[in-house]
Symmetry: C2
Subunit: 209 residues, 2 copies
């Protein structure tokens, strides 16, 4: 789970790679305790450095936390790619399996690493209204979703009337279900239902207006 092993046993006065070491330590501590329970001082102590040292790389604690959160989006995309790789091929069956794997990987990441998931989609990683579209279009996860829906469309497993809504609907539903389940507002089994409903909806829709 460590983003980068930047431990250098620290005999020198200079650390070597303090910025990454701070992010790695903060990630692990947030993972275990939640973002609301970590302190800059504890992270610095874990790395073996004085609290003030962190201020050379981050203007304040929030910046360190944001750094942690933003780095996590790549980890989530990694998980999704691995999950989809389990279903190779271009047939409808494989394409649909990959779509489900994409969503399920999102949920399982959130469910097993809920402290990290909360950080990623919490207020610390909020984007400006101007950044949002640009950041989304560049994000690996968004591209994976786009590609998966395109492939569904290619094999005729998704109706053209809803295809334009595909990304937004799928992401919203999967993200919402994950969040609600994590916080205990929906039971865990609800996620497969959302995948079912999503697949049925996208697939069987027939335009009649």
């Amino acid at each position: 789970m460590s983003i980068l092993k930047a431990e250098k046993s620290r005999t020198n006065y200079h650390h070597g790679n303090l910025e990454m070491a701070l992010i790695a330590a903060a990630t692990e501590m947030i993972r275990e305790s939640g973002v609301e329970h970590i302190s800059l001082r504890a992270v610095a102590a874990q790395v073996g450095v004085s609290p003030s040292a962190a201020y050379h790389y981050f203007p304040d604690k929030d910046a360190l936390i944001s750094g942690v959160g933003l780095a996590l989006f790549d980890l989530l995309a990694d998980r999704q790619e691995v999950a989809m790789a389990a279903f190779p091929g271009n047939g409808e069956k494989a394409v649909r399996a990959r779509f489900r794997a994409l969503g399920r990987a999102y949920f399982e990441w959130g469910n097993t690493e809920s402290n990290l998931f909360r950080l990623m989609f919490g207020v610390f990683c909020a984007l400006d209204q101007e950044q949002t579209v640009a950041a989304r279009d560049e994000s690996r996860a968004w591209k994976l979703l786009q590609g998966s829906l395109d492939q569904l469309a290619n094999v005729g497993a998704i109706n053209s009337a809803v295809r334009p809504y595909g990304e937004i609907l799928a992401w919203s539903a999967v993200h919402g279900a994950t969040s609600l389940i994590i916080e205990g507002h929906l039971p865990e089994a609800a996620f497969e239902s959302v995948l079912d409903a999503l697949e049925i909806s996208l697939r069987m829709v027939k335009s009649n207006e």
Copy 2:
């Protein structure tokens, strides 16, 4: 926005209704600054009471915050009921308008009171795995959603194949879209798209397997 006006000008030694006054003050301060930026001391000062006084009603700061969050679910349901009341009648048009109003009220609550929304669905108000189904079935918002979907089914505006998924899919999609928009991962216009997609999906689905 104040849940309860419990200001008593405080000439006496005893406050009168300190518990509610603390919740009201904390609600307002969280609303303005976010849950991560409020302090128990500031809340107590706002009410005109010493910090220790709060510990007579709440075991710790987290309990006060949870108290604030849990009270907000009723406010959200209020908003939804008001929004739906704007479209009376039993025709398909009215029923569908109420369904959209239900979702839109959820989004607008989240979008205009994002600090309160984050609190409600954040870690401070997380439920145990045992509480989840019970709490959900008792929640007013869940009943509103159930009723709205039942009415859609009655007027034939929703296919029976997806009806069982209705609550979970709609809540997940609406909640997910709201969250993602609030944190800047989707543009604000995406919400109407989600409503469109949801309505189309639920309405036009034809079971063929």
